[in-house]
Symmetry: C3
Subunit: 379 residues, 3 copies
């Protein structure tokens, strides 16, 4: 099953027969793909008889986060890949990255490594964040925001063929795609690590990680926190991923505050209940704000409303973070937002120390630096 | 007042309270923003109560151009920021940059620094020039020609929010924008240096600097020169900026040679008169060419004429630099052009040593190298 | 004659008079343009009286492939520039590049060199391959996929002017253009090396080189081989260039297998006959496949059929490489394809060791690394 392929217990794939990509000797890049003892194999599946012979093998390993150990993951595809211990260890690396970025020029940690940003739809913000992360560590970047050209209707190349070409030019692929599941397909094909930088309505795992990192960094803990999720809870992949990750911690309480038309869907509520996370829906933003450690605001996306711009306008104006809401928040609490924002957080809030959203954006840099380091050279 | 913020007397802004961007410790990057003695403060203004607490402070300093001294400017926004002494000192640095570029590979002067080119409208020529400048000095670049996406109607993010995000990923921002005044807004927001690479009909200060540098480099002086400005004088921001800078020098004489419909506007004429610069309008290009040290030709821009293509064709053919015009020019004189050109300078002129326009384009590289060096590490 | 300018016997151009680009002292970059003894001059032509004074001079040299010797070519414009000895020597360098790429990070061979990719039409695959090649050797890249903007109707700049600007910012230009002959025009203008990355229906010489390199690498020889060219032989510049290069080797036999509407044109057939290369046309793909060392499949391009989509569908389905065709191929034989492919090679073939097309794509990296090295620093 595909889900086991991306488990946090470690995964590897052994290409068999003649190496069709000509790079099996690149041991310095891929040593972490090779150090599995055959004795630890628990599962294998032959992906295809006639195509590339590739086994997806799940390996049971204990968590090891010692310097020099290989990273538990080959690819970063979805938020659910990460367990508490791994998250905690990643966050420690992200903290080290803060120090590197602030106190020195030109870390050469990833010197000689080449990252390809393969963006099938433009996302300048995310792309710049990844490229900055790579360059801050001394790595180099191949950029394309034109990746659709690879698979244009006129030419009709499959994603798999494109990945096989690009992996010949780079050491790691950061991919943004318009189709849910595309990142997983890329990872199944590639012999180098793939990071999902958003695949349509699917996942955007580095956003979820930077959100969790921001909460821990600002509040000082992840157990026992109260989080208010505000705005478009139906369509925002951000808040859905966040809910999945919050469920890994103890004594978390989640509040949903959203216009009726974009309420949190049942699947997430059921998941939280199953995991023992307390949650409630509320229509009173101020009351929630006064209770919470984190108020996580999101943008109401106009495009979801089609021609009903009246409904959009109504939904959009309903829950705004302004000076008044800020006034009832606790001293240690923070306001978060995945950005970009329109006016769902008023500009007047920006100057308050509790406005954490630009620090949150910056944390994206540290999380991405950490993941690039871990995927390319390990702990 | 905004204008004092960008004066050549030195300016700084101190973010107060909790550092909302998390990078105040980046002392190696920003030390030049900090070395002001409080005793020299002459003016302060609180930009906003509720937003980022930021004081715009003008500091009276004497000119210091000694190695290691900080640069007088935080940002490069408009040509008027520069006085004679500063221009002269910058040109000296530009000459050093010529030597670096010609005689050695891989200067590492800006190793570890990251420049973001944030282009809200494409300008391949200007972008490549800045990126080459950064890379010739060992720095790295984050590129976007897609910056409009940041502020698309659909998403509606403000320029200020975009800048706050990008400054988290880079050490200096080079911005091209379609709106006059955008560069200044960016500079007011950013805690890292901003260079204006053209903001709509507003300013394009690095072009003005490279023009002045070219004149000094080719003619050997800036005082006492005679300059003929030819072509579209009404709409060209280039010739307007040049006029402002020429007015800083002694005994300059300016000739305006343009079709009636695109004559130099009154404001510049009045400014020159006020500054004691002699100027005259002429319809005789050859006579002017025979008098001048510099003949500065510009392109007649079709888009300014709307549906009156007859007027365009008439204007366009009126003043052409060809072999005949060249024939009357003095031996030491030069022809300049900001490029791209159509046929307002005939190809037959290119081979003449007095055709300086490609050397002028190359000087843009040296000026930009100099400014990047000065803004990032000082004199 | 233009064709002699790009001969493999070595070519140089001496700019005369005052150096209009200001970079004649860049001896470390361009020393290979200068070491010709005047005694070896055999031909010269003055390109233009009034423009840049430039002599295109053909120099008769013996082949020298010793380390440190200059490369025979100033520019890479078309496949016909290369003779057997030069090809063989380039392939040796490409093999060294494989070792560099696989066994070490960060070769610094081209450290301090700057390559501009000037793409007048997008070709992400080719661009990434060149950029990866440059970065794997420690060089830096200026990218544009927007190069049409340089010469947009609105602005109307000539290709020559654009080249004169870009050569001021970089050490080598890789150009893709939509017009046949554009690469040659660029090379005639530039004082730095130009590589043709495809100019419309014209040439794509680095593709031809990587094809030949792949055959030698996989089959072990180029003399005495049997090659089946399959698919669109009328429009594919790839197979036409390949035919030219194959004709340089002894005892080569070529088979043409194509739908009637896209048959190989007479000029190539006549050329092969003239060069003593045996060729035949066949309608039996399986029989050809069983004979050949190389089956070179190509994509039928829909856009060539206009509104006759019925003819397209017929042509497209006619000659497919599938498991059955593979079944009759010899053990040592290979399947090649310039990519992208649609379904003219079935996915079921990918896993077979004889499917060489992704290795072929990767070889493009090594060939481009070799050419960049040779053009910039010589043998």
């Amino acid at each position: 099953m595909a889900s086991s392929v991306f488990s946090t217990h470690g995964t590897t794939r052994f290409p068999e027969g003649r190496n069709i990509f000509g790079d099996s000797n690149k041991s310095n890049l891929f040593h972490y793909k090779k150090n599995h003892s055959p004795a630890t194999l628990t599962h294998s599946s032959l992906l295809s008889k006639n195509r590339i012979q590739c086994r997806a093998i799940e390996v049971q390993t204990n968590h090891t986060f010692l310097k020099g150990d290989k990273f538990q993951l080959e690819d970063v595809i979805e938020a659910q890949q990460f367990d508490r211990d791994t998250l905690s260890a990643i966050f420690k690396v992200a903290r080290e990255m803060e120090t590197i970025e602030k106190n020195s020029h030109g870390s050469q940690l990833l010197n000689g490594y080449l990252m390809a940003t393969l963006f099938y739809e433009p996302s300048t913000r995310t792309r710049l964040s990844f490229e900055s992360a790579m360059k801050r560590l001394g790595g180099e970047v191949l950029t394309t925001e034109n990746a659709r050209e690879f698979s244009s209707a006129a030419k009709g190349e499959t994603l798999e063929d494109s990945i096989r070409t690009v992996e010949g030019y780079s050491d790691i692929i950061v991919m943004r795609h318009f189709e849910s599941g595309a990142a997983r397909r890329a990872a199944m094909t590639a012999n180098i690590p793939v990071i999902n930088a958003g695949d349509g309505p699917g996942q955007h795992p580095t956003q979820a990680l930077l959100d969790m990192y921001t909460i821990e960094r600002e509040i000082g803990k992840l157990d026992g926190i109260k989080v208010g999720l505000v705005g478009d809870l139906a369509n925002g992949r951000t808040v859905r991923s966040l809910a999945y990750l919050l469920a890994k911690y103890d004594n978390v309480k989640v509040y949903f505050v959203s216009p009726q038309v974009v309420k949190m869907k049942e699947d997430i509520k059921e998941y939280l209940t199953m995991k023992g996370v307390k949650w409630e829906e509320s229509v009173d933003l101020k009351e929630v704000a006064s209770e919470c450690d984190v108020v996580y605001q999101t943008r109401i996306q106009k495009e979801r409303f089609g021609e009903r711009s009246d409904l959009y306008e109504e939904a959009r104006g309903k829950y705004i973070i302004d000076g008044e809401v800020l006034g009832v928040m606790q001293e240690h609490a923070i306001v978060m937002h995945p950005l970009p924002r329109l006016d769902e957080i008023r500009v007047e809030v920006d100057g308050d120390p509790r406005a954490a959203y630009f620090r949150q954006a910056k944390n994206g840099l540290y999380i991405r630096m950490a993941l690039l380091k871990l995927l390319l050279i390990g702990w």
